[in-house]
C-alpha cells in the first residue's frame, strides 16, 4: 500500500490516533506506577476490567463505549480496593493480593463472557476482542471519548502535580505535612485504571500491563527528573503505539496489541543499553577503559623498576595493544636483538619522555598507601 493511501485510510487514521492517545496517557501514569513500585497493579487492574466490560454489556445490551468505560473503571477500582483490603487486613502480602485479584476478577469476567455468549445470541460479536484489543474496530466517536479521558487525566495530574510528586517519592514526609496521602494515592491508582480503559480497545486487557510499565521504564533511563521522565514516557508511548499500529495495518493478520508491546519492549532494551549515564554499554565501555589505563600504568611501572627484564605477559593481546599504543605516543622504543641465533627477541625500552611519564606513575603508585 503506498504511503499516501495509507495516510488517507480512515481506519488507519483512527488506529494511529487511538494508539497515540494510549501512549499519551499510559506513559505518564505508568511513570507514577513504576516509581511507586506498583508496576503490576496495572496488570491486575487491566485484567479486572473484563468483568466490568461484560457487566456493562449485560446491563446496556450493547457495546457502547460509555458503558464499557464506566464498567471497567468500576471493576478495576474495585479490584484495586480489594487488593488493598486483603493486604491491609490480613497477613497476605502485596504480591499474593495482586495475584488473587487479577485471577479471580478475570475468572468472573470469563464466567460473564460465557454467560453472554450463551444467552445473547446477537450483537455480542467482538466482546472477546477486548482480550487482545481490536484496534481496527476503533470508531471516531470512541476516539473523542478516549481523547476526553486523556485530557481530563492529564489536567488532573497537572493540578495535583506537587502532591503527586511528593507522595511518590516521600509519602512519610507528605503525611507529616498533613497531606491526604491516602486520597492522593487512591487518585493515582484510579488514574491508572483510566489509562487501562483507554487501552482496552487498542491492546486489550492482557497486554495493557506492558503499556503501563514499558514506556515508564524506558523513560527512567533517559531522565533524572520526574517532569522530563513523564514527557519522554509519553513520547515513547506514542512512538510505540503508532509504529505498532502501522506495522499491524501493513501486515494484515498480525494483532495490533502484541506489536505495540513488542515495539515498546524494544525501546526499553535500547534505552537500557544506550541511555547516557545509565546505559549498560557505556558502563561496559568505561570498565574496559579503566582496565586499560591501569594496565598501562602497570607496564610503565614495570619498565621503570625492572628495565632489563622481559616479562612473560608481553605476548598477550591486551598487553601488546597497549605496548604499541605507548610506542605510538613516544613513550617506548622497540629494539630488535639478533645476537641469539635465529630467534628474534624484541626488547622494549623507555624513551626519555616515557621515563618522565613512568616516574610520575611510580610516584603515584608509591604515594598510595597499600
Amino acid at each position: 500500500m503506498p504511503l499516501f493511501d495509507l495516510l488517507s485510510d480512515y481506519t488507519f487514521q483512527n488506529v494511529v490516533m487511538g494508539a497515540s492517545l494510549l501512549g499519551l496517557i499510559s506513559g505518564p501514569l505508568g511513570c507514577f506506577a513504576v516509581l511507586r513500585r506498583q508496576s503490576l497493579l496495572g496488570d491486575a487492574i487491566s485484567h479486572a476490567a473484563l468483568p466490568g466490560i461484560c457487566l456493562s454489556f449485560i446491563i446496556t445490551g450493547s457495546r457502547d463505549i460509555g458503558g464499557i468505560i464506566v464498567g471497567s473503571l468500576a471493576t478495576g477500582s474495585l479490584a484495586a480496593l480489594t487488593m488493598l483490603m486483603l493486604t491491609r487486613m490480613s497477613r497476605l502480602k502485596t504480591d499474593a493480593g495482586l495475584g488473587i485479584c487479577l485471577s479471580i476478577f478475570f475468572a468472573v469476567g470469563i464466567v460473564l463472557l460465557t454467560y453472554i455468549q450463551n444467552t445473547h445470541n446477537a450483537s455480542q460479536g467482538g466482546l472477546e476482542a477486548f482480550l487482545f484489543g481490536q484496534a481496527a474496530a476503533t470508531l471516531r466517536s470512541d476516539l473523542w471519548v478516549m481523547g476526553g479521558i486523556t485530557l481530563i487525566t492529564l489536567l488532573l495530574l497537572a493540578v495535583f502535580w506537587k502532591q503527586a510528586k511528593l507522595v511518590t517519592f516521600d509519602a512519610e514526609y507528605a503525611r507529616t505535612l498533613g497531606m491526604p496521602t491516602t486520597a492522593i494515592e487512591a487518585t493515582l491508582t484510579t488514574m491508572v485504571a483510566l489509562a487501562v480503559v483507554v487501552g482496552l480497545q487498542m491492546v486489550g486487557v492482557i497486554l495493557m500491563a506492558a503499556m503501563i510499565v514499558a514506556p515508564a521504564a524506558a523513560a527512567r533511563q533517559w531522565s533524572r527528573h520526574l517532569g522530563g521522565m513523564l514527557v519522554i514516557a509519553a513520547a515513547i508511548g506514542i512512538v510505540s503505539g503508532v509504529s505498532g499500529a502501522t506495522v499491524s495495518t501493513l501486515s494484515r493478520g498480525l494483532a495490533t496489541g502484541p506489536l505495540i508491546v513488542l515495539t515498546a519492549t524494544t525501546i526499553v532494551l535500547i534505552s537500557l543499553a544506550l541511555a547516557p549515564g545509565r546505559g549498560l554499554l557505556w558502563g561496559l565501555a568505561q570498565h574496559y577503559q579503566r582496565k586499560r589505563a591501569l594496565r598501562r600504568q602497570q607496564l610503565l611501572y614495570a619498565f621503570y623498576k625492572h628495565p632489563s627484564a622481559t616479562p612473560r605477559y608481553y605476548n598477550t593481546l591486551g598487553v601488546r595493544l597497549i605496548l604499541y599504543r605507548l610506542r605510538r605516543q613516544g613513550y617506548l622504543t622497540q629494539q630488535s636483538n639478533h645476537e641469539t641465533g635465529s630467534q628474534r627477541i624484541t626488547r622494549w625500552k623507555l624513551t626519555a619522555r616515557g621515563y618522565e611519564e613512568a616516574k610520575k606513575v611510580v610516584a603515584t603508585f608509591e604515594a598510595t598507601p597499600s
Binding site: 513504576v34 508496576s39 495475584g99 485471577s103 479471580i104 478475570f106 460465557t114 454467560y115 510499565v213
Partner: protein, 306 residues
C-alpha cells in the same frame, strides 16, 4: 467399578479440576510464602511462547517435550526478570511487567502467523476447555482415561514427590534462606527447580484451564490456606481441600448457569478465600472482631497472688 466411575463425564471433569488445583497449589504454596506470587502470572503468560516454539520445532501439542520446553520457558522468564533487575536499572516488579508481556506478545504473533495450521488459538490459550477433557483420552490399564487427567496426575506426583523428598530443605529455604544457604541446602537451586515444576504444571493445566485461570488455581487455594493455618504441611492439606471443593461446587454451578466451567471453578476458589479471610480460625477478620469483643467484655482478672 473404576470403569463405571470413569465413564461419567461429570466426574472426569471434576477430577481434572481438582487435580489441577492440587498440583498447582502445591507449588503455589511456596510462591505465596516467598512473596513471589506474581511469578506465577509471569510464567503462565510466557509459557504461551514456549508452547508455540516447541510446537513449531517438533509439531507436538502435548507430551514430555512440551512439558520440558515449557519448564525451560518458565525458567527463561525468571532468569530474564532477574537479569533485568540485577542491572539495577529497573525494579523487580517492573522487570516482571516487562518480560512476560514481551514473551506473550511474541507467542501471540507467532500464533497469528501460523494460525492456519495450529489448533491452539488465542481463545483456548486464555480460557482452556475443561468441559471437553473427556474427548481426548488415552488407554491406560484397559480404561479410557482423559489425557488431561493423566498429565495432571503425573504433575501432582512430581510436585509432591519433590516436596516430600526435600521437605525440610524447602521449609528452611522458604522461611530462612540465609540459614539454608549456610547449611549448604542451595536455596536458589531449590527455588529454580520449584519454578520449573510450576511451569510444567502450568503447561499440563493449560489445555484444561488456560493461562490466566492457572494463576487462580496456583495462588488462591494456597493463600486461603495461609490465612487458615501456621503449619506448612497443613497448608498443603487445606490447599488440596479448597481445590477439590471449588472443583465440585464450580462444576455444578457452571452446569446450572451454563457458563465456563474453568472460570466458575476459579471463582469458587475466590469464594473459599473470602471465607478464610473473613472467618479463618485465627486470622479471620470476623474471628478477630469476636475475640476482641469477648476480651473487652470479660473483666480483667487480677494477677493471682501465690
Amino acid at each position: 467399578m473404576m470403569a463405571a466411575l470413569l465413564s461419567s463425564t461429570d466426574l472426569q471433569i471434576m477430577l481434572v479440576g481438582a487435580m489441577v488445583g492440587i498440583a498447582s497449589s502445591a507449588v503455589g504454596t511456596f510462591l505465596v510464602l516467598r512473596g513471589n506470587s506474581m511469578l506465577s502470572d509471569a510464567i503462565s503468560h510466557s509459557i504461551v511462547f514456549g508452547i508455540v516454539i516447541v510446537w513449531l520445532l517438533t509439531k507436538q501439542q502435548s507430551g514430555t517435550v512440551q512439558l520440558v520446553g515449557a519448564a525451560l520457558t518458565g525458567l527463561l522468564t525468571v532468569l530474564l526478570t532477574e537479569a533485568l533487575a540485577s542491572t539495577k536499572r529497573v525494579k523487580q516488579d517492573a522487570a516482571i511487567g516487562l518480560v512476560f508481556p514481551a514473551l506473550f506478545s511474541i507467542g501471540v504473533l507467532l500464533l497469528n502467523i501460523y494460525a492456519h495450521d495450529v489448533h491452539i488459538d488465542t481463545h483456548t490459550v486464555l480460557l482452556g476447555e475443561i468441559g471437553f477433557v473427556w474427548l481426548d483420552t488415552v488407554n491406560l490399564f484397559g480404561l479410557p482415561i482423559p489425557q488431561a487427567l493423566v498429565s495432571m496426575s503425573v504433575m501432582t506426583v512430581l510436585n509432591y514427590g519433590f516436596i516430600f523428598l526435600f521437605y525440610k530443605e524447602l521449609k528452611l529455604a522458604t522461611f530462612d534462606p540465609a540459614l539454608a544457604k549456610t547449611f549448604g541446602f542451595m536455596p536458589s537451586v531449590l527455588f529454580y527447580v520449584l519454578l520449573m515444576l510450576t511451569s510444567s504444571t502450568a503447561v499440563a493445566a493449560f489445555d484444561a484451564v488456560g493461562a490466566v485461570l492457572f494463576i487462580a488455581f496456583a495462588i488462591v487455594p494456597a493463600s486461603a490456606a495461609y490465612l487458615m493455618t501456621d503449619r506448612l504441611w497443613m497448608m498443603f492439606v487445606i490447599g488440596a481441600l479448597v481445590s477439590i471443593g471449588s472443583s465440585v461446587c464450580g462444576y455444578y454451578l457452571a452446569v446450572h448457569l451454563n457458563v465456563s466451567i474453568g472460570g466458575m471453578m476459579a471463582v469458587m476458589t475466590g469464594i473459599f478465600l473470602m471465607l478464610a479471610f473473613l472467618a479463618g480460625p485465627r486470622y479471620g477478620v470476623i474471628t478477630q472482631q469476636i475475640k476482641r469483643r469477648r476480651a473487652r467484655q470479660t473483666p480483667m482478672e487480677p494477677p493471682s497472688l501465690s
